[in-house]
């Protein structure tokens, strides 16, 4: 190893450290600053204020319930189109669209689909003379979960499809020739081999739904607070120290959720 080698490596490490790690570190330090120097005052305020506690609870239940609903529903979709090659390729293109589809435009679309002024609600109203349940819950945490399911479903399906592609088709044929069919085949052969993709996709979904911002900004603003929204509103009121506290809580919350997720899914990985 000579000096020249180090020089060529230096920018690779330096850039992420300067623009990503250090700002996060400074945020953590900033969260301790208050009118009386460095104290834990902001954290005390955070955990004694009802709105912040509510935003933690909202964030957790949005992340947890969205993932818990997306994973089984997504697996069902993948299993349904598993055999049909053309549908599968078509689905791959479709499921990659939301990666660049602006989430907040999607939220606007949802309001005009299922909200009280939305197409589907109006249709429902004119047919059955009754409002859809979504017309009233769209802006609550249940509504945000509903939006998350629709928006993040493709993000979950994509890695599962990628795992499906790496599977050897002869595996299924071998299992069939040994007398495994239908549910037994799916439960004993296909699901276990899809497990790595399902677990990775589930983790990604959990992180994205915990940290969701675009959708909640459009649906939850002023009604349902999550941690990311709390951070945004602190900045709107020019309180960077409190915003930093919220940021630290967000990071700690996602980190601990990932650890819990890993613990909880270790059982499946063993198979």
């Amino acid at each position: 190893m000579n000096i020249k080698n180090y020089i060529i490596l230096l920018p690779a490490f330096l850039l992420p450290i300067v623009f990503f790690v250090t700002p996060l570190f400074l945020t953590a330090i900033n969260s301790l600053s208050s009118d009386h120097g460095f104290t834990l005052e902001n954290y005390v305020r955070f955990f004694t204020s009802e709105i912040y506690i509510t935003s933690i609870i909202n964030t957790l239940r949005i992340g947890f319930f969205s993932t818990a609903l997306i994973v089984p529903f997504g697996v069902l979709i993948v299993l349904a189109v598993r055999k049909n090659k053309r549908v599968r390729n078509f689905m791959k293109i479709l499921t990659s669209i939301p990666a660049v589809f602006p989430s907040y435009v999607f939220a606007i679309a949802l309001i005009y689909m299922y909200g009280s002024a939305g197409i589907i609600n109006r249709l429902f109203l004119s047919l059955f003379n009754k409002e859809l349940p979504t017309a009233t819950i769209l802006f609550s945490w249940q509504g945000i979960i509903f939006a998350n399911i629709m928006f993040f479903m493709p993000f979950f399906i994509a890695p599962v499809f990628a795992t499906l592609d790496t599977l050897d088709p002869s595996l299924e044929e071998a299992a069939q020739s040994l007398g495994s069919h239908g549910l037994h085949l799916i439960r004993r052969v296909i699901l276990p081999s899809l497990m790595p993709g399902i677990l990775a996709g589930g983790l990604l979904t959990l992180l994205m739904t915990l940290n969701v911002f675009g959708v909640v900004l459009f649906l939850g603003w002023g009604k349902t607070y999550t941690l990311t929204l709390a951070l945004f509103s602190e900045m709107e009121y020019f309180r960077p120290a409190m915003a930093s506290t919220v940021a630290v809580i967000i990071i700690l919350l996602s980190a601990s959720t990932v650890i819990c997720y890993r613990r909880a899914t270790r059982f499946f990985e063993g198979r």
Binding site: F20, V105, R122, F213, L231
Partner: protein, 260 residues
């Protein structure tokens, strides 16, 4: 046999109905919103006009479109260059700390975008209302995506090719530009397309870092839908969706896997 066919029909209709409601229908609704001057109590709007689209020609919106182009273009160009360079190091160089570097490159994906933006504001307060801070923020958001695509392609290059060229006396620079870069081209183009779509529709970073003269289309969509008109927001949204769809088509033409 008939039973199987019946089951298959049920499966396919289940999938197509759910996909319709998740992806296609929202798009139609946004398009309708941008094409109707006012949406009363009818199920489908009855009158149509290009009023909102014509309003997009106002200087404010043109400025936003140019800003979006400058910010996303620079951020994506920087991100592609940096991801290619890091992928090259990880694939063809021997050094300690490879895992750390990989983790550093991927980690912005696991942190909420508003948190990244707040960190940048605290670290670079003087850069507020300049394009630079927005470019850095967008760079951080798209880098995990470009890096994963480019590294994925570069990792599959046969290492023997590298050694053969070296034994024939090619310099490291020649190997990098004449052998590795052309072989990585598909990953680079796919990464650029995807990152451009992602960066143009980014909101969490932009909404905390924008200033009075440096705002983007995504910020205007937010402000118009809150205090202006939903039709304008929908027209801008349609523009963003069109760009994003073009990006996706490019990526799939190249056959790259999109799992971002």
């Amino acid at each position: 046999m008939i039973e199987m066919k019946f089951l298959k029909t049920i499966q396919l209709s289940f999938v197509s109905i759910s996909m319709f409601f998740i992806i296609i229908f929202p798009f139609i609704v946004v398009l309708l919103l941008s094409l109707t001057p006012r949406w009363g109590y009818e199920v489908i709007p009855t009158s149509y006009s290009l009023k909102w689209w014509a309003m997009l020609l106002q200087p404010k919106f043109l400025r936003a479109a140019i800003n979006t182009g400058i910010i996303s273009g620079s951020a994506v160009a920087l991100s592609i260059a940096f991801s290619t360079y890091v992928s090259y190091l990880l694939t063809f160089r021997q050094f300690r700390g490879k895992e750390t570097l990989f983790l550093l490159m991927m980690s912005p994906m696991y942190v909420a975008s508003v948190v990244i933006a707040l960190g940048l504001l605290i670290m670079f307060p003087l850069l507020r209302n300049t394009p630079w801070i927005l470019i850095i923020g967008h760079f951080l958001v798209v880098t995990p995506v470009t890096f994963r695509l480019i590294y994925g392609v570069m990792r599959k290059i046969d290492q023997n090719l590298f050694e053969a060229a070296e034994s024939l006396g090619a310099s490291r620079w020649t190997i990098a530009t004449d052998i590795i870069l052309p072989l990585t081209k598909s990953g680079i183009i796919a990464g650029a397309a995807l990152a451009l779509g992602l960066s143009m529709s980014e909101l969490g970073i932009t909404i905390l870092l924008y200033g009075p003269s440096w705002y983007t289309l995504s910020v205007l969509i937010y402000t118009e839908s809150q205090w202006g008109s939903i039709g304008l927001a929908a027209a801008m949204g349609t523009v963003l969706i069109a760009i994003a769809s073009a990006a996706i088509i490019i990526v799939h033409r190249l056959g790259a896997e999109v799992t971002a």
